[in-house]
């Protein structure tokens, strides 16, 4: 008889780019100067988009909207590592992922105006409509990965959820199945510290969220979620693993939801201004800008040109959005089933 340790684990955290814009060169992922510029432009595009969306909402031109401010690096860093053939299963706070893979910006806004047509993914992209019930999309990624494995295709599935999502049953069922079947799935948990009013500390007693993965026989990593290089590197690693049949990876991106949960929320009711300010200082875009400046990749002129380009892109998207004819009432009925039911046909006579 004896007592002995039969299992132990360690959780790795990856940080590459600090707040001063200094990067650990030994850890830098293989990104060209043009990749880095592209990433920076995406971060700026996301931020400009998010800001415009909030303004449109305040003007009554958009419905309730879930902002992404502060989480840009987690979304761009992970999405930038994907291939076109990979499948993406987002939650409702993933506008940045949509933008990063080239989803038409006007369609993202169209959805938030209350028009389902914005969710019709263009044929050359594989991103599912945003999932509203928290964490439920995790299982769809698992199923798609099972299907890809059965078809012997190199597709990887990537799913996004938050710290709140890790409390859901579907998180457990999804990670468990992914571990059992050794599936090509990447779980991106954007731990943004708040699930509406519930802080991370009350969501789970686990010291990190990354360590939960080990309970399912899955590798779990934690990264600085405001460090676009760290997020990219971890995702790129996880994707390579997935494609080589080495199973799933869980990546906890530690970040922060700077804005309210949605435009219908008031975060000042449950968290301090000081806390928000602390996180603002860890801004993902600012540190990349400093890095690029040191490398000679950023100038005031470059900034001006990029800002102008982005502004005109968003202006164009809003113009397209507002030129769209409203949906017809009969469109409620299409796409419920492939064919209308006899009863739906009768109900359609109201229109």
């Amino acid at each position: 008889m004896a007592e002995r340790i039969i299992e132990s684990f360690q959780v790795k955290r990856i940080e590459i780019l600090d707040e001063k814009g200094d990067a650990d060169e030994s850890l830098m992922p293989a990104l060209s100067d043009s990749d880095i510029r592209r990433i920076y432009e995406l971060l700026l595009l996301l931020r400009t988009f998010d800001d415009r969306a909030l303004k449109l909402q305040r003007e009554g031109r958009l419905g309730t909207y879930a902002p992404i401010l502060g989480q840009e690096a987690s979304q761009v860093g992970s999405a930038f590592a994907l291939e076109k053939s990979d499948w993406i299963f987002p939650s409702y706070r993933e506008s940045g992922v949509y933008i990063a893979i080239g989803y038409p910006i006007y369609m993202i806004l169209q959805y938030w105006t209350g028009d389902e047509r914005g969710l019709k993914t263009p044929d050359d992209l594989n991103i599912l409509p945003i999932s509203i019930p928290v964490g439920t999309q995790i299982l769809h990624a698992v199923g798609t990965a099972m299907a890809a494995k059965y078809r012997k295709e190199k597709t990887a599935a990537i799913t996004y959820f938050g710290d709140g999502g890790t409390s859901k049953g579907d998180f457990h069922e999804g990670l468990n199945m992914a571990g059992v079947f050794k599936l090509p799935v990447i779980f991106i948990c954007q731990n943004n510290q708040w699930a509406i009013s519930m802080p991370r500390s009350k969501q789970s007693a686990s010291k990190t969220l990354a360590q939960k993965a080990y309970g399912y026989g899955i590798e779990g990593l934690q990264v600085d979620g405001n460090d676009v290089f760290a997020v990219y590197k971890a995702t790129e690693y996880a994707l390579r693993k997935a494609r080589q049949g080495e199973g799933p990876t869980f990546i906890e991106c530690v970040t922060y939801r700077i804005a309210d949960h949605t435009t219908a929320d008031d975060a000042t009711r449950y968290r301090s201004k000081e806390e928000v300010e602390t996180w603002k200082a860890k801004d993902p875009m600012q540190r990349l800008k400093l890095f690029m400046e040191k490398k000679g990749l950023w100038t005031a002129q470059y900034q001006k040109e990029v800002e102008e380009k982005i502004k005109s892109m968003i202006d164009e998207a809003v113009k397209t959005l507002e030129s769209i004819e409203p949906p017809q009432p009969r469109e409620m009925f299409t796409y419920i089933y492939e064919k209308l039911t006899p009863r739906q046909i009768k109900q359609l006579k109201d229109f």
């Binding site: 299982l139 769809h140 199923g143 099972m146 299907a147 599935a157 796409y335 039911t341």
Partner: protein, 320 residues
């Protein structure tokens, strides 16, 4: 033509469809090596391999959620939930996603999936092993609900359900699994979804039922000139066959084993009242389970509609 029971008919349907179409996969608890707790998937794992007949962890929401992801990717999953009483933890996936994915993505992604599950009382099963909650699923647009009543219809309806482009809940009456053997053709045949069948024609009263209660209904109508309808698909249901029959007979009795309140009989009754009230000679009567939880073995026989209760209802409407 082989004489098969419902378990065998379902097994044949699955096997033949999997041979025809390699996009069909089966997933569920104990469906592989064990062949399913009722043996409906027996032999399929040996024939098609563990990658196509997938033994999953004990994970109902996981089974349905994964099946949705498979369907989005282009497969046609046939998911098994071991008993209908265990489907509740998967309802979020069924209602929030399976039913909505076509609509939300405007047809870009669809969910051609079948969820097979044994339902119903009458075999003295354990607690939560006798549920008949079909009405929950009929209330949700975007999914179809199919209930076969014989081995022949189970095979044809299951093949249609597998080929259907939308998610189908396929309810298999546990009581019927091995109760009846009948001729079931080998090979390909389908029975269309959304169509009821007239089991026997009659002129005085229309008696509507489905699944295992159909057989009790057939025992009950002896001596009456009754038209018996097997609904087969509950959602979307065949209004036309129903209303034509009611217009002929002017009397209706609806028989189902689920509780009366908000049971599917309420929908049928309301439809008849809306569209054929002027043809009615008598009130529409429902013979159903009581508004109680399905009791355990000792009281089960008192719960289910009996021949006596069904005959009493027919007597009642025949007074008018």
């Amino acid at each position: 033509m082989p004489k098969l029971n419902m378990v065998q008919a379902i097994n044949f349907a699955l096997k033949e469809e999997m041979k025809r179409d390699d996009s069909i996969v089966i997933l569920g608890e104990d469906v592989g090596r064990d062949g399913g707790v009722f043996r409906t998937t027996e032999g399929l794992s040996d024939e098609f391999g563990a990658e196509r007949v997938i033994d999953t962890p004990l994970s109902e929401s996981g089974i349905i959620g994964a099946a949705i992801g498979m369907a989005a990717y282009g497969l046609r999953p046939v998911a098994e939930i071991q008993f209908m009483g265990f489907i509740y933890s998967a309802i979020d996936q069924i209602f929030s996603h399976a039913a909505r994915i076509r609509y939300r993505s405007r047809g870009r992604y669809t969910c051609p999936m079948v969820i097979r599950t044994p339902y119903g009382a009458g075999v003295k099963a354990l607690e939560l092993h006798s549920e008949s909650t079909e009405a929950f699923f009929c209330h949700m647009p975007g999914i179809k609900v199919v209930v076969p009543s014989t081995p022949y219809h189970a095979k044809g309806l299951l093949i249609s359900s597998i080929r259907d482009p939308d998610p189908v809940i396929f309810l298999e009456a546990m009581r019927l699994y091995r109760l009846i053997k009948e001729d079931v053709p080998e090979g390909d045949y389908t029975i269309p979804l959304g169509k009821a069948r007239i089991v026997q024609e009659g002129n005085d009263v229309t008696v509507i039922s489905w699944g295992s209660m159909l057989h009790r209904t057939l025992q009950s109508v002896e001596g009456y000139d009754a038209e018996v309808i097997d609904l087969m698909t509950l959602s979307p249901f065949d209004e036309e066959t129903l209303l034509n029959s009611v217009k002929k007979t002017g009397r209706v009795v609806i028989v189902h084993e689920a509780p009366k309140t908000c049971g599917f009989g309420a929908e049928l009754s309301a439809t008849i009242a809306e569209d054929a009230i002027l043809y009615l000679k008598a009130p529409i009567l429902r013979v159903t389970g009581y508004d109680v939880l399905v009791p355990l073995a000792k009281l089960e026989d008192y719960y289910l509609p009996s021949v006596e209760r069904i005959r009493r209802a027919i007597e009642e409407v025949m007074k008018f």
